[in-house]
């Protein structure tokens, strides 16, 4: 009984939309984090620069930025998923009478 679901236009739309939301966010997260780790590994001096004229280093600023980015990425995904995907999933469940 699951094979018909795969043929539904709503299912194809769901897969497409989910990929369009999740893929860019995953790539952003991977690039941001491994960019940070590789900078620590190969060019730690870059992160030792000061932000403006104060004592706060670029590393600490970027670190806090990454924590914020993590929160934003999960927030965007949950919001988008509720807006664009939940309706499609409900429709699929209704169509096959579950």
């Amino acid at each position: 009984m699951t094979t018909p679901v795969a043929q539904l236009p709503e299912f194809k739309e769901l897969i497409q939309k989910r990929r369009a939301i999740a893929l860019p966010l995953t790539i952003i997260m991977l690039l941001a984090y491994f960019g940070f780790i590789l900078t620590i590994a190969f060019a730690p001096d870059v992160l030792s620069q000061k932000v403006g004229s104060g004592v706060t280093s670029l590393g600490i600023a970027i670190g806090f930025g990454l924590i914020l980015l993590t929160f934003i990425v999960t927030g965007v995904f949950v919001h988008q998923s509720n807006q664009k995907l939940e309706g499609l999933i409900d429709t699929i469940h209704k169509k096959i009478g579950e």
């Binding site: 769901l14 780790i37 620590i40 670190g63």
Partner: protein, 530 residues
């Protein structure tokens, strides 16, 4: 240590009282929950009755372990910026869990990730692999928590290390055997609130002193710290590029393979609530890591140079893991110290309970029911076996806690993440997204990943040199993930594409139905008995 005894002599009453209040409160919850645990679904997944926000708090509770609270604030106290590398690594795993794993996991499984990894494959070999992967991860995580708990109680209450470890072991067995997932979840929720509250108070007191200016706080810390302005820069924590990348990989992908965390996704009603709980959890955890960073800097400012907290050798009284606890005393006297230590203890207790429950489910649900009984179902028997497994795990945890007294807590957790990232994560991810994967590929790749991790860990400095006493480590780096993760993925790929067996045809044919259910949740009720 006479100065230590003197220092803690006055707080014992307050701390012990706070501690007793928490323990009796949680034991009451366990008693309440025990009357509601009737089926295996109740025992492992709280009957699916937990809301997104509650689960978010419980996940955060599971994740904000002793290593996070005591370890990271201690790391910031000793080396400043480097502490942030760990916090960020622990946090960035969450979007990966949410974007790739959470929904399919909730839609395909019932109690633990073995349900998902074995969904379309030959159940028996995959369940054995997943159970051993889970138990290896849990063991290393458990050792770290037991050592942390033992040290904390030893210092705070003046109890010998051995009795402290035994107390933690007995309490954790009590929570899990009687209350199951429902009690464990509520203990986590309460503890998460207390820990977030306590850490907020500490950070507030530190920042208020500097009119909430980070810049002023950093300046004061630089003036106090022996390393001066260097605490703002990457330091010695990550020694070479290979170790940096290896640690980074383990932390980012390890989260998506932690059995006790993945188990939490089955306590909510549906995939939507599972997603929502990750969002809440990420918020709480991120906020908490910012607090531990402030607490670490507060500890530099308030404790450095004060002989009540720092010995003549420049080391913190009670070890560097006690930075947050000592800071509580410096800022709020015995009352705040009592509160923070009770919370720290509660943290460890709650985390070991969650770990034990996940371990018990691997033994009873995977090994006993699906391998030993070959899937025939007897719910009463299954709960009974998992209760026996819990007691056995409790005894094992006490034994290992005593053996590994001298091990570094944060490093042990790092190893648990390395196993999770190399053994559990590859089979979970590939089984969800790669249609051509077969039973043979999963089994060979999974075991290769697990064994590579364990062998490299044994050959590295911590075990080969420190435990076995050889001169030089065979494996020169601290973390194995950079090598063991590719081994697992290549193993899965190679032994799947070359698989010509009849089982392989079944495995590949099963993908479409699995994919539909993973993406939509269609068929969850019908599929209950799998």
């Amino acid at each position: 240590m006479p100065s230590l005894d003197n220092f803690f002599a006055h707080m014992n009453v307050t701390a012990v009282l706070m501690f007793l209040v928490f323990v009796s409160m949680t034991l009451f919850i366990t008693w309440w929950a025990s009357k509601r645990v009737k089926t295996t679904k109740d025992f492992y997944s709280a009957g699916g009755s937990i809301t997104g926000l509650q689960n978010g708090l419980a996940i955060a509770g599971d994740y904000m372990s002793a290593a996070s609270f005591l370890g990271i604030s201690g790391l910031v106290f000793t080396s400043g910026f480097d502490g942030l590398i760990y916090s960020i690594g622990f946090l960035v795993g969450w979007p990966i869990v949410l974007l790739l794993i959470a929904e399919p996991l909730r839609n395909l499984g019932r109690y633990n990730f073995s349900d998902v990894a074995s969904y379309r494959f030959d159940k028996k070999p995959i369940r054995v692999l997943a159970a051993i992967g889970s138990l290896s991860t849990i063991t290393f995580y458990l050792i770290a928590q037991m050592v942390g708990a033992g040290k904390l109680i030893e210092v705070l209450f003046g109890l010998p290390y051995a009795s402290a470890v035994v107390i933690v072991g007995v309490l954790m067995v009590a929570y899990v055997t009687f209350g199951g997932m429902l009690a464990t979840t509520w203990v986590q929720v309460i503890k998460a609130c207390l820990l977030l509250g306590g850490a907020t108070v500490l950070s507030f007191l530190v920042l208020a002193h500097f009119n909430f200016s980070f810049e002023d706080m950093f300046t004061a810390a630089i003036a106090k710290h022996a390393n001066g302005a260097k605490i703002m820069n990457p330091g010695t924590l990550v020694k070479d590029p290979i170790s940096a990348m290896s640690l980074g990989l383990a932390l980012m992908f390890g989260t998506a393979g932690l059995p006790h965390i993945l188990m939490r996704f089955f306590t909510v009603r549906d995939a939507k609530q599972a997603n929502r709980s990750v969002f809440y959890a990420t918020g709480f955890i991120g906020y908490f890591y910012i607090l531990t960073f402030i607490i670490g800097f507060g500890a530099i400012i308030y404790l450095t140079g004060n002989t009540a907290y720092v010995g003549a050798d420049g080391k913190l009284v009670g070890g560097s893991n006690m930075a947050a606890v000592q800071l509580a005393h410096a800022l709020g006297g015995n009352l705040l110290l009592g509160f923070i230590s009770a919370v720290a203890f509660a943290t460890i207790l709650a985390v070991v309970s969650g770990l034990t429950l996940a371990g018990a489910s691997a033994i009873s649900h995977d090994l006993y029911v699906h391998v030993f009984l070959k899937g025939t179902h007897d719910e009463k028997k299954e709960i009974q076996v998992s209760r026996i497994a819990t007691v056995a795990l409790g005894i094992l945890a006490i034994f290992l806690g005593l053996q590994f007294e001298k091990q570094n807590v944060a490093y042990m957790v790092g190893l648990a993440f390395a196993i999770a990232a190399s053994a559990n994560f590859p089979i979970i991810l590939m089984s969800m997204y790669w249609p051509r994967m077969t039973t043979r590929g999963a089994v060979v790749g999974g075991w290769l990943g697990l064994l590579t991790t364990l062998v490299l860990m044994i050959l590295s400095k911590t075990i080969w040199v420190s435990v076995f006493g050889f001169d030089k480590p065979v494996f020169a780096y601290e973390y194995p993930a950079l090598f063991s993760m590719p081994v697992a993925f290549i193993g899965i790929w190679l032994f799947s594409i070359t698989d010509k067996s009849t089982r392989a045809i079944l495995d590949r044919d099963g993908y479409e139905a699995q994919y539909v259910r993973a993406q939509t949740g269609v068929g969850i009720e019908a599929g209950k008995g799998h």
